[in-house]
């Protein structure tokens, strides 16, 4: 295999690669042995600590309700954030300065502050102004924080999605006499939705990961706080962390794979313009994950299929 960094290996390079492989295997084995020792010496490998995960009770009482809440917060956040994001994304493309500037300011503001701050703030505002139960308040606070942040990220996705369309689309629409609103709603948006679908789906990974913040900081009973209750009952913090991490990895892997599959499909599609915003372009899984990120004004990079 050859890449930008190295050519196909010759006899000397092959020998060197074998030596490197052997050294690396030794290092990995050392690491695993050390890890196993650490677990063993703290009695973390005892069967009774891991056994609960093979009973239905641990799942039905603690983990699955937590996972359900995680997914609920994720779904709600996405459903609310998407139209909001579309609104702000389109507003940023407006011809009018007085629409474009404020929309841009709002988007950049919410992208610049941590989602945890938004959650804490929403939590307090709801606690003081609304008459709701504790569980409702926690859910609302988490969703509010996630919506404010992700709507601003999605606004950038929408903007990039519309900008990714070939200019001919707008020009053709103008040529047949459509007005600006009509061009947007019947020509640009329907095409942009397919273009940005992978990026939207992979934003779900960021949302899933951020729900855990609500669990620790404002007591929302999602998967991570389900783990805390479980570990308190069975006294198995380390195994419970391992299991919960695996659940998150599987869940996010499914979402990422789906986004990747969508991207491939859209790229191959003959009907579309071939413009796709890669799943990872906008603060998505590869960009920063966690709480996402973005350089203001740097925007997003857009892939256009060369035709």
């Amino acid at each position: 295999m050859s890449s930008v960094l190295y050519d196909a290996p010759g006899p000397r390079a092959k020998r060197r690669n074998v030596i490197l492989t052997v050294t690396f295997v030794a290092l990995l084995a050392l690491l695993l042995w050390w890890l196993w020792r650490a677990l063993e010496s703290r009695n973390q490998l005892e069967w009774k600590l891991w056994e609960p995960f093979f009973t239905s009770q641990a799942w039905t009482t603690y983990l699955l309700p937590g996972l359900a809440n995680t997914l609920k917060a994720m779904g709600l956040s996405m459903v609310i954030a998407l139209p909001l994001g579309a609104l702000f994304g389109i507003a940023r493309l407006s011809d009018h300065l007085w629409v474009r500037i404020p929309a841009g300011a709002v988007v950049e503001f919410f992208r610049a502050i941590p989602v945890l701050l938004l959650m804490l703030f929403a939590n307090e505002v709801i606690a003081r102004s609304m008459d709701v139960t504790t569980e409702q308040r926690q859910l609302y606070a988490v969703v509010a924080g996630l919506v404010l942040y992700n709507a601003s990220v999605l606004a950038e996705v929408v903007r990039a999605g519309i900008l990714a369309l070939p200019k001919g689309q707008t020009e053709a629409a103008q040529a047949i006499g459509l007005r600006k609103g009509q061009t947007m709603s019947s020509i640009l948006l329907p095409q942009a939705v397919t273009v940005m679908l992978p990026a939207i789906v992979s934003q779900l990974v960021v949302i899933v990961k951020d729900t855990a913040l609500g669990g620790v900081m404002i007591g929302f009973t999602e998967l991570l706080s389900g783990r805390a209750t479980l570990a308190a009952v069975y006294a198995n913090p380390v195994p419970s962390f391992v299991v919960v991490a695996i659940i998150y990895i599987i869940l996010n892997f499914i979402i990422t794979s789906f986004a990747g599959w969508l991207e491939q499909r859209l790229r191959r599609g003959k009907k579309s313009t071939g413009a796709v915003i890669p799943a990872a372009a906008v603060g998505g899984t590869t960009a920063t994950g966690g709480e996402g990120g973005g350089v203001p004004g740097l925007g997003t990079f857009i892939d256009k299929k060369d035709t």
Binding site: M1, V4, L5, Y6, D7, P9, A13, N17, L20, T21, F24, V25, L28, A38, R42, E108, A112, I113, P114, V115, L116, L117, L120, F121, E124, R128, V205, V208, K209, D210, T211, A212, L213, V216, M217, L224, A231, P237, V238, F241, V244, A245, Y248, I249, N252, F253, T256, T285, T286, A287, T288, G289, G290, E291, G293, G294, V295, P296, G297, L298
Partner: protein, 225 residues
């Protein structure tokens, strides 16, 4: 109007943001080192190293940062007795554990940013360099890395800004940074909106200039192709 700010001493308002800055800077340095190592593995000619890098990045990237940070406290410190050389100083220990968590997590993103930078260099560049007889070190040092470095500023800036915001997660294990102070303050004081606004402003001050500067730099240095 801002009287209540001065009544907080543990930590003070500026002290809390100073902690945020410290967390960001130290984590950034640590994750740059570890991320570069990971990136080197991911582009190495040895399949096993590439495999390790891929597995590390995909596992770490898909675990919420909150899980990692909470684990450093409840798992590493409480069960495995990892004290990070803090010698019983609980605050220092929490700070260093949080750093460890941030480095482990952010390095995965640094690795991906660096790898994407290397991938922007067309293979023809290296092939041409080899054709004129440059050695591996020369190809890397004179041709590939200078171009890759310029392409990598934008993605790395994104990682740095996300890291700045991510440091708030350290509040979950009691590191006295901005979000920790805000949580205490907003529960006690009446001026909810004002508190929200000043903390938000603090983060805007931290992230916006960095983003604008690095965004400008990456555009300026971008390799025109």
């Amino acid at each position: 109007m801002f009287d209540f700010l001065s009544s907080y001493n543990n930590p003070t308002f500026l002290g809390a943001f100073w902690m945020t800055v410290k967390l960001t800077v130290f984590s950034a340095i640590g994750s740059l080192v570890w991320g570069t190592l990971l990136a080197a593995m991911r582009v190495s000619p040895v399949p096993l190293m590439r495999g390790f890098g891929t597995v590390y990045v995909n596992v770490v990237r898909n675990i919420p940062l909150t899980v990692i940070i909470v684990f450093t406290s409840l798992g590493l410190a409480d069960i495995f007795r990892v004290t990070m050389g803090a010698g019983g100083d609980v605050k220092l220990q929490a700070f260093r554990l949080a750093l460890l968590g941030f480095v482990a997590y952010t390095a995965a993103f640094v690795c991906e940013a660096l790898r994407s930078g290397i991938n922007t260099v067309p293979v023809g560049q290296a092939e041409a360099a080899r054709a004129i007889g440059l050695s591996f070190a020369q190809v890397l040092g004179l041709i590939v890395l200078p171009q890759a470095f310029r392409a990598v500023i934008g993605p790395l800036a994104n990682v740095l800004i996300a890291l700045t915001k991510n440091t708030t997660v350290a509040a979950a294990i009691g590191v006295m940074e901005a979000a920790y102070l805000m949580k205490g303050m907003i529960e006690k004081e009446a001026q909810t909106l004002l508190i929200g606004a000043i903390f938000a402003f603090g983060f805007v001050v931290l992230t916006l200039p960095t983003g604008l500067f690095l965004g400008w730099l990456s555009k300026r240095l971008a390799v025109k192709r």
